[in-house]
Symmetry: D2
Subunit: 466 residues, 4 copies
Amino acid sequence: MENIHEECGVFGYYSETEKSDIARSVYYGLFALQHRGQEACGIAVNKDRVTSCKKGMGLVGDFFNDKMLEEMPGNIAIGHVRYCDAVNNNIENAQPLFVKYVKGTLAIAHNGNIFNAVALRKELENEGALFHSTGDSEIIAYLIARARLTCPTVEDAVASIIPRLQGSFSLVIMSPSKLIAVRDPFGVRPLCIGRVGNDYVFSSETCGLDTVGAKFERDVLPGEIVTIHHGQLKSNRQYCKKESATCIFEHIYTARPDSVIDGQSVNESRILAGRLLAKQHPVDADIVIGVPDSGLSSAIGYSKESGIPYGTGLIKNRYIGRTFILPSQAQRERSVALKLNALRHSIDGKRVVMVDDSIVRGTTIANIVKMLKNNGAKEVHVRVASPKFLYACYFGTDVPDSKYLACTKYTDEELCRKIDADTLGFLDVESLPDIVPDSTVGFCTGCFTGKYPCPVPKKEDKVTFE
Amino acid sequence: MENIHEECGVFGYYSETEKSDIARSVYYGLFALQHRGQEACGIAVNKDRVTSCKKGMGLVGDFFNDKMLEEMPGNIAIGHVRYCDAVNNNIENAQPLFVKYVKGTLAIAHNGNIFNAVALRKELENEGALFHSTGDSEIIAYLIARARLTCPTVEDAVASIIPRLQGSFSLVIMSPSKLIAVRDPFGVRPLCIGRVGNDYVFSSETCGLDTVGAKFERDVLPGEIVTIHHGQLKSNRQYCKKESATCIFEHIYTARPDSVIDGQSVNESRILAGRLLAKQHPVDADIVIGVPDSGLSSAIGYSKESGIPYGTGLIKNRYIGRTFILPSQAQRERSVALKLNALRHSIDGKRVVMVDDSIVRGTTIANIVKMLKNNGAKEVHVRVASPKFLYACYFGTDVPDSKYLACTKYTDEELCRKIDADTLGFLDVESLPDIVPDSTVGFCTGCFTGKYPCPVPKKEDKVTFE
Amino acid sequence: MENIHEECGVFGYYSETEKSDIARSVYYGLFALQHRGQEACGIAVNKDRVTSCKKGMGLVGDFFNDKMLEEMPGNIAIGHVRYCDAVNNNIENAQPLFVKYVKGTLAIAHNGNIFNAVALRKELENEGALFHSTGDSEIIAYLIARARLTCPTVEDAVASIIPRLQGSFSLVIMSPSKLIAVRDPFGVRPLCIGRVGNDYVFSSETCGLDTVGAKFERDVLPGEIVTIHHGQLKSNRQYCKKESATCIFEHIYTARPDSVIDGQSVNESRILAGRLLAKQHPVDADIVIGVPDSGLSSAIGYSKESGIPYGTGLIKNRYIGRTFILPSQAQRERSVALKLNALRHSIDGKRVVMVDDSIVRGTTIANIVKMLKNNGAKEVHVRVASPKFLYACYFGTDVPDSKYLACTKYTDEELCRKIDADTLGFLDVESLPDIVPDSTVGFCTGCFTGKYPCPVPKKEDKVTFE
Amino acid sequence: MENIHEECGVFGYYSETEKSDIARSVYYGLFALQHRGQEACGIAVNKDRVTSCKKGMGLVGDFFNDKMLEEMPGNIAIGHVRYCDAVNNNIENAQPLFVKYVKGTLAIAHNGNIFNAVALRKELENEGALFHSTGDSEIIAYLIARARLTCPTVEDAVASIIPRLQGSFSLVIMSPSKLIAVRDPFGVRPLCIGRVGNDYVFSSETCGLDTVGAKFERDVLPGEIVTIHHGQLKSNRQYCKKESATCIFEHIYTARPDSVIDGQSVNESRILAGRLLAKQHPVDADIVIGVPDSGLSSAIGYSKESGIPYGTGLIKNRYIGRTFILPSQAQRERSVALKLNALRHSIDGKRVVMVDDSIVRGTTIANIVKMLKNNGAKEVHVRVASPKFLYACYFGTDVPDSKYLACTKYTDEELCRKIDADTLGFLDVESLPDIVPDSTVGFCTGCFTGKYPCPVPKKEDKVTFE
């Protein structure tokens, strides 16, 4: 529910022949991936080896218009939706990154976080490089451009730089005649392949395939480099390892419920989390409600397992957008009320189980509990469909400093009192594997366990993340 | 689900003393009423008998910005969100209507439809009137301005013109020192009163009260004229009749589920409709799903009554907005896929009961059934939580000509085949009263029954509606 | 030079047959009249008795775009550029005024000032009228609409209301099938007729005819009502009086030098004023320069008469626009320098005669004299090509209150010292008739003489001007 | 008169201490330089070694607003106005170029044309460089960044790359703590130094100094590198040669008449050209007129020398802007009439000498001659205040391919007939030095003589100019 952890989304489309509506296909793909980033968006298109790129701030549907898309026919195209923190919220960092280099043009869309970016950038600067942005993509582009001087193909150049990148990266790369998809060896961020007729599609999530009518083919494997050239798919698996470590938070919060990641339905993961919660933290109550939107599936799971009836207790305003005007000081306390409203008739006089996906700072959930009680709830039992958030993420999820995390500041009892809940229960960290039984890959649970799939930067390095 | 029948929303705020954030309060009220109209919006504010008015096309959150609201301090304010058909989609018709007349300024926000508007306009033109818009509000304003020449107060002038208006009207009117709310004698459209401290609030729906922290006081009665002056509420009930006729479609589709209209929770109405549907059209199935957003509550009701488990089968893209770019011809069939996506893991191999709120043209529902089957649904049983839509509405709901209505064109069997459902069931028209058991007022069911609370214009008059 | 006195411009185009580019013709006409008003602009077009109207704030070239003009085909069209003071600077007052009334649509573009507007408005309000703007046009429209109820034609209705209007008015009026031009009985503001093939054109100034390729036909006579209907021109001269009183300030400042008003070339008027100045205020000097743009012609006249060489001493920045950002406090003194720059090489070490069109507040001219001296001018002799500005204008020129007028505050000697000029000379008020020898009409010289062609409102009425 | 040859303008401001209005000062400087480029503009500011940069399409006054300037306090700032041809008319090429490199940030504003840019870019790409724009500045930035790896200071790095650049360049460069101005060894483009108190200002022309209240100090010498650091000016003259070659077309057309370049007043150059024209091409006539704006000074010169009276014969519409809507096909012939109008009263029945600055394609001048004759001119004698345009420019003036040049296509007699002039005379190419007698530098007259100060690219290289 709390809007603090978000991601980026990438999308790519390859057709052997020129399509007048290729940019529109990418537009629809980005539309489906919009939940992964709302700050900036962009599309780059190749037509006869000439590339054009349009990017801007805001939602895909707000920035692009019909005329812009019509001006971008072509046979290869990539797109990006971007989440960014306040500091880097500028157009220079919008993607795709689009540059000219020795072999023509190169466009890159990136989802992830390179945590040795500072060192790489310094190294490049020491060789005379200029940077226009503060983003990882430009570093990746430089590495590719330099590698390309000695590598016979662009996909070889891409492959040769993988060992240099520490962190997470799902990349879609467009050269004058090729479309390349790369997933880091841990496979931290999702990336999948679809087909529409003879065309190839890459998308961060399967929901992006559905909007362009593409059939899901398979996921890009952790560590795989997939190249589409002359209509043929070529796979380089030299970096595919035994152990992968996909971000489990994609299932808990980030991804759309209708997506399937590495074989595991996101909606099923959430229902399972709800079922497990019901087993681990049962309670006698009259109704189970979810906090929209990401808590709803887990609430259904809790209801199914516990037998307590499921109902709608909170309504979300569908028109809350980016440009929302904040309340004046006098109106501040009503802040949550603008996004959510309680359904008095559902909860009045009832003992309510309220399921949310996660607790970060804890302020929003406190306001919701208060709202429920103001609307007559006799008891409010908060159930959180994920373990306690205790550690930083180094792979791209924007988690606040641990000193702001509710679960590091308070014991369960303190937090329960703080948010004025009657009881409070988190998903047991041990049961995390049980919410993703169908997954073909392993998981990173670093933010809950502090155990990461590889060495991560020490705290003092963190400020330099860009 | 089909976006064809919508309404307007009105909001008013009265404070004895000037408030710097009064426009912001109206802004939040309109935000909560945004579902009633997305084409245009506006706010008018009184400060020391000087009125300013800002209105524009689009969503409240897109048109207004912080600076605009800050420039509008005052002690009385009204606002409007507008739905409009393609023909009248222009800024001249945006509301509040704001005019200067013999007693200063007058601002009017109107929800409803005056069906003798053409005759009234002709009469006024024959006396030399000029019109700037094609809307009903300007006619109402003229009638008030003329009546005011002989009536001692503006509220008397308002009262004196009620008999001249045929049709539906929930009005919020602002004179230099008064805030007036009017609901037509049938009470077709909702309108309620709330309080924040000593301030008075009028809102089309109770959800508008919640966002400004107002406590629900009571509904404006059908036929009642409520005037706030010098901080006091005065009620004129001379037009309150025994029989009222509130629009039952407000419960089925228009209103927000967290609103309560004349004592009846909208969400409860929908759950009851779902329960009744389950009784009237039972079926053997594995899962009950709702078409988001307005079919969800009825789906829960169907599930509760039938015992068939409730689940999430369709996901709605939350970023679909007004400026959505239509697919190219080649992409046309994917049109529904951009708004909705099926959850294969929920429905694959299952017999699905799919509940929607209503069927108008029937095209959307056909696409959804197809999407469910493409995602593995073994059977799809469509259940519609309202009776068959058969007649025109003369009170403001924008229903297409009956020749486009699915239920007038096809028998149930034909329609069922047309949309490729396995079975199809509508709510029995006789049971409509059973979905609103708590309501303190009567209902208009004209669009389902052809029986209207008063004589309505003959067909040939209809073209002149503006 | 001082940007304080400006006007409005009106334009009309009549073609027997529909033209796809009629709005574009009006656009070009307004472009030529842009100097008469830069705050707002608008165009209304009739096509098959259906009228559309687009208006907005800003310059014609900024507001209108190609698409807007293409959407406005038709056979009759009118346009307006508007000057407005800070108070009435809003879109509601932009023109053409476009209303619907008993006989269809009516569009009005007005240049002038009705000084009994307050009384007329009160009278109309007392009969139930609503007003959307604070402008004179809406009053005129109401009077026409009411008169039309009893008059057989719209031109008769227009004629019947002329006696009710006190003040100045050059009107272009479009009914569903007619184009009407009206000039008040004094003919205060200019208005002329041109022809392109069989089409008729009305324009505030002849320069508007030139840009649409129209041949000047004749001026609308003071008091004349000209109606174009079915391609025929009809003239009503019932209000044409012996004595007319065109504003002489049009020749001195307002009109474009390439315009000819009532037979008199504006450029010639200015050259003559310069020649007279040279006779009345001779001086021994090395160079005559003009303050761009309106002082240049008079400077040439002064040079011709005196024999002192003409030169360029000041350059005006051609990019100064409406959105100009004001200097910070520390930069304030450079304000004039942003618009004008001195040509040191022309004036260094020289005795300079500097000719400007008029002096209002006197602040700008003081800055210019200072600039000339800073650039080496040994002496600066200021010559003003108009008499001393001493009285208010009631006919539409926006003159500041007399307490701000330099010439009412100071004697000539004081003012000369104040602006640091070596000598200062104004055009002799007696010689005003000599600058317009070719004019076929009489003149109003009220702002210089206090003698107006008719009784004017007393001072206390002035605040109500709108 | 013909708008085809234009330039860029650069501006820099250095203050020892932070100034809240430094960006505003640059804004005013750019305002004065706006005639050198209207397609794009930008400002970059240093504050405590942190640089921000804002740039956009359009005029300085349209793009920047108060808020943007207020957000850019600092102690060093540079700005740029950009002319660009249709092909490179995009935001990526707007300047200042702003990049991050090994020593922090670097901002560059460039006026000129590097004609070995293609080779340099290829060389850099072959070493792994990425390019975001197609402009010369990015190449220069790369060269500096690489040189900086081995040079002790940024000004040394700048100095070291001068030999690598062929062509013209007036540069203003901002490092985290220094402001550097560079003029190429030929001094093709102007660049001067001014002072306000202890602050230093660099500007393409002296008119830019005047608007910020700066006193002209001296020109940057051809080949000089001027560095301001810790409030001190340091000059490196290692590249200053004996022979310089400033563009003479700056005097004829590009520069503002109130500017002084290398000791020569631009206005005086034009007056002298007019005087020489009168000697070289005398004619018996009644009036001398100039084509506004750049022909006016030469017309005055012609009048002075010939004794034929000077007058105003053409009025330029001051509101013609970038967004001007083109006439429809039927209106095409009136295209010139929208920008210029003839003063019939000045020319009717007269023998007219019409002076323009140059003839490029010859189409505009033909239309003007026609306009004069249509307005009664008995004879039109065209006098051009520059020699015949016969050759390409390789130093940044955008001259069309020679096959479009009127003077390469036609003999004088043919051209005279073509434009329907009675006589036609060009300034004698031999007398070019006589129009710039005060200049301290030499001149490039390549476009008139084909003799360039250095070897220029062969024709086939030309297409690659960017």
